[in-house]
Amino acid sequence: MSSSAQHQSSDKATNYYVPSQSIWPIVGAVGLFLMALGAAMWIADGAAQYSWLLFFGAVIIVFMLFGWFGNVITESMTGLYSAQMDRSFRQGMSWFIFSEVMFFLAFFGALFYARMIAVPWLGGAGNNGMTHELLWPEFVAHWPLVTTPDGTTTTAMPWQGLPLMNTVILLVSSVTLHYGHVSLEKGRRTETKLGLGLTVLLGIIFLVLQVEEYIHAYQEMGLTLSSGLYGNTFFLLTGFHGLHVTLGTIILFVLFCRVLKGHFTPAQHFGFQAGSWYWHFVDVVWLCLFVFVYIL
């Protein structure tokens, strides 16, 4: 897909590169379709063969990402991109991150609603005194919700210990990444590698500790995905965050490999920047999580 129908004008500043046909979008669409179908049927039906469909779709998506980004990297390296083009990528990435913010907002919204409205109402607050009196007379509103209205009990995850450690790790990782970024802009390659490499490492440590925390929650604390609204919000928020950290770590790892291969220049390194924005965003989400899920 490299034959490019390229449209250049004499005016360099406003030159805009329009790529020619590409196989990757349709590959990506098929990949997503297979993943969605596989996941849906697997969940609905429970039959294991569908998990293969999901897996197969994911492989296609990975294949597509390699191919697509490969194209973009080649185009960028051949100097087809202008500053305007770079802006398009940057803005695109920012809006993508904004959409992610809104996704998390839905779950934070659920958390706030539950804490401020649903649980107190079940406990008799607001205009819902009768709800408590007639339906849930035993229930005492309390957050963390360790005893649900139907009497399921669990334990709340304390913020000291692993979560605190993870907070520190993520904060440090943001610093190391920034260090790598600044070094890149100054053209100091070794420091860039160091900063980026450390960030990837910290990301992996974070994930390991998170898994550790989950195992602890499931096996010793009786805190599971299905133990009432506390467990629901806890696992979905930290879970989706963890998924984003996983993705972020992979992205940073790929960037690391690209730095090793000598991609990126102090002036042009959109890929690096996008990855770093993503990482900082994931970091901020964690801070909110730490405050609203663990501490308060």
Binding site: N127, N128, M130, T131, L134, L135, P149
Partner: protein
């Protein structure tokens, strides 16, 4: 001008068409009101007035705006030689037509706020009734009186399937209507056992969602005796269209008599339950009663032919539980299965009815197990569960 003529002509045709259709489809004698009901409570009257006020305001605004537009359409046409002016803004005008609607809105908001605040005050009620929706029936419980009952659609399947002529109040009739006193403030505590329903009687201007796990409050004070009909107003599954509400409003004395009679009936029913334990049904009686109960309470989901709806409601015909394991069969009918649409029928049916319907299922549609189930058997299973 020709276009406009054409337009008018087409409209005349349209109207003619509508009229002829109206005539052609004259299938029922009962005519439909074309406006909101004024209802039979002070609140519903206020709501109606509010409705008419905003409606008329909207009509007036609409008339003004459309008049201006059609004036332009008629007079400022190119084929009449109109030359286009070139003005394209006027701050003064724009401010005016931002401000005027704003003022009009304030005019609407004030009475609306008053009415709303009055509607949302259920305090100091004379009578409290818990209204519980479930798929697809209403349950009413009179607080402080030992009266409670289920209220189900009374229109029959053969009417719904066009095999019998539909009665006048088709789909708006129930077996046991809610009975309320006139002139008293009645508070409703609305909730649900499964999905969200909504309890709505237009004549009272009361519509409140029945949310499972929560209780909503609403109230009414009926001014005139009569029969008032409503329907469930929140999609609640397959038979959402088939769970009507009927309220009979009676003067206080008649209401008291009715209430006393109901209490008496409840006591008698309890006594009968005891005697029933000692009785035994034969196969014919069981099948006959069982079929009645089945069609009324079970057929909505499991279908009259016992085949259910694939993937939604299981077939009872040939079901392993129904043809073999009696204990499990009794258990699921009596206690339901939580987290599914299969509800507990212990409260809804008498022991005899329970026994009959279980027995019926075990012998109908070729299940032919030959089992006869007795009330005592069901009672025993219930007691076992209690321990």
């Amino acid at each position: 001008m020709s276009q406009l003529n054409l337009c008018l002509l087409r409209w005349q045709w349209g109207c003619l068409l509508v009229c002829s259709m109206l005539y052609a489809t004259q299938v029922s004698a009962k005519s439909m009101p074309f406006n909101l009901t004024e209802g039979v409570t002070d609140i519903s009257q206020q709501v109606y007035d509010l409705h008419m006020t905003i409606f008329i305001i909207c009509c007036v605004i609409g008339l003004v705006v459309f008049a201006a537009m059609f004036w332009a359409i008629i007079h400022h046409r190119k084929d009449k030689g109109a030359q286009a002016a070139q003005f394209h803004e006027n701050t003064k005008v724009e401010i005016i037509w931002t401000a005027i609607p704003f003022v009009i809105l304030i005019g609407m908001a004030i009475p609306a706020t008053k009415t709303l605040i009055a509607m949302e005050d259920p305090s100091n009620a004379d009578l409290t009734i818990q209204v519980t929706g479930s798929q697809w029936k209403w349950h009413y419980k009179y607080f402080g009186h030992d009266v409670e009952f289920y209220s189900l659609l009374a229109s029959r399947q053969d009417q719904i399937h066009n095999q019998k002529k539909k009665r006048e109040n088709y789909l708006l009739e129930v077996d046991y209507p809610l009975v309320l006193p006139v002139g008293k403030k009645v508070r409703f505590l609305v909730t649900s056992e499964d999905v969200i329903h909504s309890w709505w009687v237009p004549a009272f201007a009361v519509k409140k969602d029945a949310n499972p796990g929560f209780i909503n409050e609403a109230w009414t004070r009926i001014n005139e005796p009569g029969i008032y009909r409503g329907q469930c107003a929140e999609l609640c599954g397959k038979d959402h269209g088939f769970m009507p509400i009927v309220v009979i409003a009676k003067p206080q004395e008649e209401f008291d008599l009715w209430l006393a009679a109901q209490q008496q009936k409840a006591i008698e029913a309890k006594a009968e339950e005891q005697t029933m334990l000692a009785m035994s049904m034969d196969m014919d009686e069981m099948m006959q009663l069982g079929e009645q109960v089945y069609n009324k309470h079970c057929a909505a989901c499991h279908q009259p032919n016992g085949e259910g709806l694939a993937g939604v409601f299981p077939a009872l015909k040939g079901s392993q539980m129904v043809t073999q394991d009696v204990a499990a069969h009794i258990d699921i009918v009596v206690n339901g299965k939580s987290g599914t649409a299969m509800q507990a029928f212990a409260k809804q049916l008498t022991l005899k009815e329970l026994a009959a319907v279980i027995g019926y299922e075990r012998n109908a549609w070729g299940n032919n197990t030959g089992d006869v189930i007795q009330p005592a058997q069901v009672k025993a299973a219930m007691q076992q569960k209690d321990q």
